[in-house]
Amino acid sequence: MRMEYIGLQEIRGPLVVLDGVTGVGYEEMCELRLPGGERRFGRVIMLDGGRAVIQLFEGTRALSLENVRTSFTGRPMELALSREMLGRVFSGAGRPADGLGEFYPEERRGINAGAINPVSRKYPRSCIYTGISAVDGMSTLIRGQKLPIFSGAGLKHSELAAQIVRQAHVPDDDGEFAIIFCAMGVKNDTADFFRKSFEDSGALQRVVMFMNLASDPIIERILAPRCALTAAEYLAFSCGFHVLVIMTDMSSYCEALREFSSSKGEIPSRKGYPSYLYSDLAALYERAGILHGGAGSVTQVPILTMPNDDITHPIPDLTGYITEGQIVLERGLDQAGVYPPVAVLPSLSRLMKDGIGKGFTREDHPALSNQLFSSYARVQEARNLASVIGEDELSDLDKKYMEFGRLFEDYFVRQGSEENRSIDQTLELGWQALSVLPKEELDRVDEVLLRKYYQEDGAIALRGNV
């Protein structure tokens, strides 16, 4: 027989306080019954003697100090798991939200997994081809990596993420592929866009969706990525799927965390975010990886919108310190009509160096991408100069760099949202763009590669292509 506590001591935002409770554990789940039979769920977030502070997932609207009965379940929050989750839609708290009812769980797991033991990890080395030149060529995505997209409001991050999902594949691999889509505080339209894009590509049957829309309670928003990643770990490490987790929008998640923290009365840190924001984000992002002896993998592509396009804002800043690189989108390119608007210079994939080159992609890939980075960085200098003295006054060499910059952006970075480029095509485009520069400027590639791949008339071929 479960004990029921009648009434509450205090209600504060999404939190309620209950006195005189016994035998309740930290992070234990509880159920609140309102008059009228409505049930709400909550979790214990602080214990002080007989006083328990509970966060309610669905908010405290219509609660009074007298009209509620609370009972504790004796267990922390768990998620029911099964292969049958594929193709289903769940709420942020992990309950079925597509009207198809409950499924028979194979297993139940706590949503806060322990950390993966670094000894048990396998270092990720196999690249995932996305068919997008700016990603494959310059910031290659590696299976088991966490590679966020840093975007801004109004930029085409959703389109890019959808294209990655459509086109992502691994060379010569027969592993099953699954996608977990976790929406946190996104608008209905965005959620619909993704659902439709999964439908159109016929991927819906291998997608699990966790939906917390902008109007849904913030506590569920905090639970949503934890549920999604628990499902991902189950599918990857217990069922052997290669799981790609798309989480959008991490900024909404962090804002929910801030709201929650302030309602708890915690001491705020930078910009009002709680001091544990780093540890909290790490607890999510670090759940990507590959295990020794396991077949599956968890790869994460979190999307975040940088408030005011500011990369030093705490959310992108802390994310960048945890994740293994980032793909940064740029407003200038977007305005110039370049899709995908990937800002090549600040984008980076830390795991790339071990997953490309001979035996992985192509022997010239590391040197070529290095050269493109370095030459494109020089383009920025030339452009800065040109904006002061005008392009006509530039030295011949700087003019060539300006030309290279245009070719690189127009033919290498820019591509259609349905265009799926092979890695050979991508590298070819890179060499062609480089051909406008004199050979001796290419200081990152050695003689052998230069002889083999440099194309004298590359630029002409490039312009002729289109």
Partner: protein, 584 residues
């Protein structure tokens, strides 16, 4: 003594029941015996920070005191191994709880089963003093482990040399008060207490790293401290890896504090394969890894830096030169902030606790070049990565760290974007050790080294000023002499400062080659000035390809064929001569 849990808030747990607990004492909390440490005591409660996830912990659960502060087991078997922040062996934990780290696993750091081939070097009746070596054994292919007596006394019995585990009694010792103590191969030491030494010696030897920008321009001394601050993606971790791989320390303690799991895996895999250039044995044979990744409990992250430092001091006491790579100290400072917030302490700057500077000072001051109690010389060098918020060096952790380190390698986002690695900015970085180390450099590399370094630094400084002008008006209208400065500085940047960590020859460069490389670049600068004096455009010289040749010598000249530099000098003379001739 037993206590009960009263309250739980994240990793902070309140205990009730008696006031017998000491500050910093270890306690085991709850049914699963989670490990924690006392951080505050009042008349009714003791506040404990728990090193593990507190999910499921209930008021009324029992807690036991361990009777002493958090300590780490020291002895053979630390090298070639990986531990979490409170020195629990991760490989053994994997054996107990699988791929995901479970809770309440209380394992000692060292394998109690393994037998070591021990040579006992004292015999019954002998007097030994604290810090002297009483037994030794080969710990790995490179390092001989010396067991250090923790106290003075007379040897009562000594086991014969032979095979022993870390728990077998090797020696019984009677101290001055007549108490007997049993010594084994291992001992425990509280992590927050610096191990004692006889005296501190002045700084006089550099830690040679094989990285040109560090060894030549901004050296760090053995026993010194350096900080590597930089925004994400600027290459802090790669620089730390390079130093861990190639620096001439005997022992490396690699401390992954709140960083990425995959990175620690990479270190583990890579260091197991890569061979130490001196001994030809795997690098892991001289490395202790401590991995408290960002998603592991935050209180253990706070403790991890002390664990690493204690292990480093232990090997120093055996007479070794130890380098601690702490990646990243900012994560540690953030752990302090997080726990301080949970304890509801008054925050100072940016939410960090007011004691941040004193904690940083305590940590960095444990470095030094010492005479050990046993009369040997050993050192601990600390190289701390700093991850400033938003890449802004004015934040508290960077600013306070600057006060306690004397070498500062500032990583630069713009350089990293241009893939100039190591992205150590040569204008904002500094090393105060140059003066201290001057005698060593003079003795090893000759008088001229300091002169060359000074000239190279000036050349780069001038270029940076000229670039301000170039940004505004372009390079074309500069006088030939300044164009020459820019060209030579470019050769120095690309050919000398830039170093390719993934290139066989370039990843490690002996200091002699560094000097010669610097020498030829400045030789070209001197020679080419003659052209400028004759009013010959510097482009003529560029067309000979001599600048590109210099940029490539880092790849072209093998580290063991330094004689080839003589040819390069001749080539420079020839190129300049040829241009002079043609434009006469």
């Amino acid at each position: 003594m037993s206590y009960t849990v009263h309250g739980v808030n994240g990793p902070v747990v309140k205990l009730r029941g008696g006031s017998g607990l000491m500050m910093m004492e270890t306690v085991f909390v709850g049914k699963t015996r989670l490990i924690g440490e006392v951080v505050g005591i009042s008349d009714s409660d003791a506040v404990v920070q728990v090193y593990e996830d507190t999910e499921g912990l209930r008021p009324g659960d029992a807690a036991q005191a361990a009777g002493g502060p958090l300590s780490v087991q020291l002895g053979p078997g630390l090298l070639h191994n990986i531990f979490d922040g409170i020195a629990r062996p991760l490989k053994a934990i994997e054996g107990v709880t699988g791929a995901f780290i479970g809770r309440g696993v209380n394992l000692s750091a060292l394998d109690g089963e393994k037998k070591w081939d021990v040579t006992v070097s004292v015999s019954a009746g002998e007097e030994i003093s604290a810090g002297s070596c009483f037994a030794s054994c080969p710990e790995t292919g490179i390092i001989r482990h010396r067991c250090i007596s923790p106290l003075d006394g007379t040897v009562v019995t000594a086991a014969p040399s032979g095979k022993y585990t870390v728990n077998d009694v090797i020696l019984t010792l009677r101290d001055a008060r007549g108490n007997t103590h049993e010594l084994t191969l291992s001992q425990r030491w509280p992590i927050r207490k610096p191990r004692p030494v006889a005296s501190r010696l002045p700084i006089r030897k550099p830690l040679i790293t094989g990285q040109r920008v560090i060894d030549t321009l901004f050296p760090v001394a053995k026993g010194g401290c350096a900080a590597i601050p930089g925004p994400f993606g600027a290459g802090k971790t790669i620089t730390q890896h390079q130093l861990a791989k190639w620096s001439d320390a005997d022992i490396i303690v690699y401390l992954g504090c709140g960083e990425r799991g995959n990175e620690m895996t990479q270190v583990l895999e890579e260091f197991g394969e890569l061979l130490d250039p001196k001994s030809g044995k795997p690098l892991l044979d001289r490395t202790v890894l401590i991995a408290n990744t960002s998603n592991m409990p935050v209180a253990a992250r706070e403790a991890s830096v002390y664990t690493g430092m204690t292990i480093a001091e232990y090997y120093r006491d055996m007479g070794y030169h130890v380098a601690v790579m702490a990646d990243s100290t900012s994560r540690w400072a953030e752990a302090l902030r997080e726990i301080s917030g949970r304890l509801e302490e008054m925050p100072a700057e940016e939410g960090f606790p007011a004691y941040l500077p004193s904690r940083l000072a305590e940590f960095y001051e444990r470095a030094g070049y010492m005479v050990t109690l046993g009369g040997l010389e050993g050192s601990v060098t600390v190289i701390g990565a700093v991850s400033p918020q938003g890449g802004d060096f004015s934040e508290p952790v960077t600013q306070n760290t600057k006060r306690f380190v004397r070498a500062f390698w500032a990583l630069d986002r713009q350089l990293a974007y241009a893939r100039h690695f190591p992205a150590i900015n040569w204008i904002t970085s500094y090393s105060e050790y140059i003066e201290d180390l001057a005698p060593w450099y003079e003795e090893t590399l000759g008088r001229e080294f300091a002169g060359l370094r000074g000239r190279l630094a000036r050349l780069l400084g001038e270029e940076s000023k000229l670039m301000e002008i170039v940004k505004l008006i372009g390079a074309d209208i500069l006088p030939e002499e300044q164009k020459l400065t820019i060209e030579c500085a470019r050769a120095a940047r690309l050919g000398f400062l830039q170093q390719n960590a993934y290139h066989e020859t370039d990843t490690y460069v002996p200091i002699e080659k560094q000097k010669l490389m610097m020498g030829v670049i400045l030789h070209l600068y001197d020679e080419a000035k003659r052209l400028a004096e004759h009013g010959i455009p510097i482009n003529r010289l560029k067309e000979t390809g001599i600048f590109e040749r210099l940029i490539r010598i880092k790849y072209d000249i093998p580290n063991d064929q330094l004689i080839l530099f003589d040819d390069v000098r001749l080539e420079i003379d020839a190129a300049v001569g040829q241009v002079l001739e043609a434009n006469r």
